[in-house]
């Protein structure tokens, strides 16, 4: 009994593990996760920050001088602009803050090019004015204009335009008040809208932190930023982007990561992750866009799913015989004469698995009929690493170890046993429209790294290049 309980706990732990970054992702007030030479970096309050080779497994090691609070980072051209702040320290403390920026050619502390420029002040707050100049957030819009926002709960969030050549204030630039009662502000630009993100709620109180990220938008970079019900963020308005999850609390310090068209992620922190000693940790979630508003997507949780093509709505399945199931074959007449009502069992794996070939079975798509050869179990693979914001998954037929795998010729098959081979590992990422991209880690005999599960015909899946504007490249993954 004891063993069963321990086993159940281990299973539960693994089933939860996909929701959090792994390694040592401990950080507070993270800068927007930024890629540099194939690695990912973020900085936090105080000194230092985190580095990840794959975007999923994080270790300390990033280097940022200056200390202070809540940095941000943005790549401009071939350089990185890092901002941070020095302050008397939040509510109850002094409010004479300074926002500073500095350049580096690389974020890799082991590179010979790694050297920060002298920090320069781009904004400040005086001791008791309605602003506490900390918590910088950068934005470069599609027109090449650079802005930064800053501020805390002490007064207003402000923003000022910067010079992308120097990282300093643009000549003649003026500070604007853009929101009230926020912390950790940030901005995004999309389809002609400027989005202002802020953090509301209680900070720094572990599992009791109600920190949450909200958003308003404006056609003008200097506001006013209005929420989904017409409230100005200077009047406290804001639409929720991400709040607490079941085991994680206190979402704060948003940063947008544009991966490619249709694939966007947000970095932020949890004030407390109960699966990681309640510590403050780095979080990465997909960004979904719904009716012009951003919201947090999901990291796929371990579970049993059906996988449906967006092209036709057909279900991914094994290419095996369709076995007829019992129930309801009585024609059009005589309905209503059935007494009593009985529950008809669905088809079970053991009824059909004996008829399946033992070796490789190709995959195909078909009408979803809730048959065993259409039921998939998707689980994160422990210790296999991952990609930006997600773990590598195995995709197996429920109740078996038969695994979906990329095959030579850029096709997709199932193999009888999951071995952990790279071609059996899948990146499963939620796209900005809420659908999913399913991408193998490698494809045997092919050096391509950008192939995904793709509907070349209604019933025929293959591997092909991802195109967000093409439903052939997208899937719905629905829990059963």
């Amino acid at each position: 009994m004891k063993k069963n309980i321990i086993l159940a706990c281990i299973v539960a732990l693994f089933s939860l593990s996909a929701a959090a970054q792994v390694g040592s992702p401990y950080i507070h007030d993270p800068a927007t996760v930024t890629e540099c030479d194939g690695k990912y970096y973020t900085f936090g309050t105080g000194a230092g920050g985190l580095i990840s080779a794959d975007g999923w497994v994080w270790e300390s090691g990033a280097v940022r001088p200056g200390g202070g609070a809540a940095p941000d980072c943005i790549k401009i051209g071939d350089r990185y602009l890092v901002g941070y702040s020095s302050t008397g320290g939040g509510l109850g403390g002094g409010h004479a803050g300074r926002i500073l920026t500095m350049w580096n050619k690389t974020l890799d502390p082991n590179s010979p090019d790694f050297e920060y420029s002298e920090p320069i002040e781009v904004a400040h707050s005086e001791m008791d004015e309605d602003c506490d100049a900390i918590d910088i957030g950068f934005l470069m819009d599609d027109n090449g204009r650079l802005f930064c926002t800053f501020g805390t709960y002490f007064g207003n969030i402000r923003m000022v335009e910067l010079d992308p050549a120097t990282g300093g204030r643009k000549e003649g630039a003026q500070d604007y008040d853009v929101a009230i009662d926020c912390e950790a502000s940030s901005m995004m630009y999309r389809d002609g809208w400027y989005y202002l993100l802020g953090t509301h709620g209680t900070c720094c109180d572990g599992a009791n932190s109600t920190y949450n990220i909200i958003v308003g938008r404006s056609r003008n970079p200097f506001g006013p930023f209005i929420d989904n019900v017409g409230r100005d963020m200077l009047q406290g308005g804001g639409k929720m982007v991400v709040a607490a999850e079941e085991r994680r609390f206190g979402a704060g310090h948003f940063g947008r990561i544009k991966v490619e068209p249709g694939v966007e992620k947000m970095s932020f922190h949890w004030e407390a992750d109960l699966d990681l000693s309640g510590r403050s940790t780095l979080a990465i979630r997909p960004i979904l866009w719904k009716d012009g508003w951003p919201e947090a997507g999901e990291i796929l949780a371990d579970g049993n799913y059906k996988i449906l093509s967006r092209r036709r709505g057909y279900a991914l399945e094994l290419t095996v015989d369709f076995v007829r199931a019992q129930g309801g074959m009585r024609g059009f007449f005589g309905r209503g004469q059935e007494q009593p009502v009985v529950v008809v069992e669905g088809q079970k794996l053991e009824e059909v698995i004996g008829g399946w070939p033992e070796g490789i079975i190709p995959a195909r798509c078909n009408d979803y009929m809730a048959r065993p050869h259409q039921k998939w179990t998707i689980e994160a693979v422990p210790d296999a690493g991952g990609y930006l914001g997600g773990p590598w998954y195995k995709i197996v037929i429920e109740g078996t170890n038969r695994a979906l795998a990329a095959a030579e010729g850029a096709e997709v098959v199932t193999v009888p046993e999951f071995t952990g081979a790279d071609e059996q590992l899948w990146a499963i990422e939620q796209l900005t429209d809420g659908t999913w991209r399913i991408k193998p880690k490698t494809v045997p005999g092919c050096c391509c790294t950008d192939l995904c599960l793709y509907s070349v015909a209604d019933s025929t899946p293959t591997l092909a290049k991802f195109d967000f504007n093409n439903d052939n490249a997208k899937w719905d993954i629905k829990m059963r």
Binding site: T87, G88, G89, G90, L91, G92, G93, G94, E126, D128, E129, D130, C131, Y153, F154, G155, N156, R158, Q174, D175, Y176, D177, V178, I180, D181, C182, H200, G201, T202, C204, D205, N208, T210, N220, F222, G223, P224, I226, R231, D232, L234, Q235, G236, G237, G238
Partner: protein, 262 residues
């Protein structure tokens, strides 16, 4: 000529529209913190709600010291208990204190604390023992210049206490006729509680930010004549303020009212 006249009419039309959207203009940062940036003493017999219906005229009592190192203690039961105490005679009554009148009260008081990273040392640990002091607090009839009544600036400009405070506010809403099916919509930093004509109307518990229309009362009737609105705001380490307005069934502001502090 016709085109010129048409253009003129369009221009006049646009000019008339501008005030309606003036609350949504860009706002240049302003470093000043003088009280008159936020509110001024009431000098006219009556006031009216602003363009968005926010009630700007209030009789404000100088803050009562109530040390709290974190706003997470502001549960419903806590603030009911704290606001349920009597701090002055006539509290929640129909007769308002006079502008300039004073009360004497013994309050809890937290001597200056050592800050570490902006927070009191030992944050989250057991609360320290507070001292007590006798104070005299004064009522001020004020007109807010902003939608939010910035209690923090009221406190910092007129008193010693800025954090760890309770602020009491009261105003009179005058109606020419009954206005049924309206709600008192409130936002406050941090928790607060509000009463209309002696009845509890709305409570905002927890560590609140000042959000327009954060919480609303059940439907109520503003009766013809005087309606007395009381409010109390409590805050620990935050910039206290509040915004109040009445909204109708469609969420539109009620503006056919006047405000007095008598």
């Amino acid at each position: 000529m016709k085109t010129t006249i048409k253009t003129l009419f369009v221009a006049i039309g646009l000019m008339l529209l501008v005030p309606a959207f003036s609350a949504r203009a860009q706002v240049y940062a302003d470093r000043s913190i003088q009280l008159d940036k936020y509110m001024v003493p009431a000098t006219t017999p009556t006031a009216t709600p602003d363009a968005q219906g926010f009630l700007g005229r209030w009789l404000l009592l100088e803050p009562i010291s109530k040390p709290n190192r974190s706003n997470t203690v502001f549960t419903d039961s806590y603030i009911r208990e704290v606001f349920g105490q009597e701090y002055f005679k006539g509290q929640l009554g129909d007769v308002l204190p006079k502008d300039g009148s004073k009360i004497k009260i013994t309050v809890e008081y937290q001597p200056p604390v050592s800050l570490q990273g902006g927070r009191p040392m030992g944050f989250g640990m057991e609360a320290p023992k507070y001292e007590q002091k006798k104070v005299t607090l004064k009522w001020h009839a004020m007109d807010s210049k902003l939608p939010n009544v910035k209690l923090f600036r009221f406190a910092t400009n007129l008193t010693e206490d800025r954090y760890g405070i309770i602020c009491w506010a009261v105003t009179v809403v005058n109606c020419e006729e009954d206005i049924p099916n309206v709600r008192l919509a409130v936002g406050s930093n941090s928790a607060s509680m509000w009463w209309v004509n002696g009845e509890e109307a709305v409570i905002l518990s927890g560590d609140r930010r000042r959000v327009m229309d954060d919480c609303a009362s059940p439907r109520l009737t503003l009766k013809k004549g005087r309606n007395v609105i009381w409010g109390a705001v409590i805050n620990g380490p935050g910039m206290s303020d509040f915004c109040c307005r009445f909204i109708d069934e469609a969420g539109n502001p009620v503006k056919n009212i006047t405000l007095t502090t008598k």
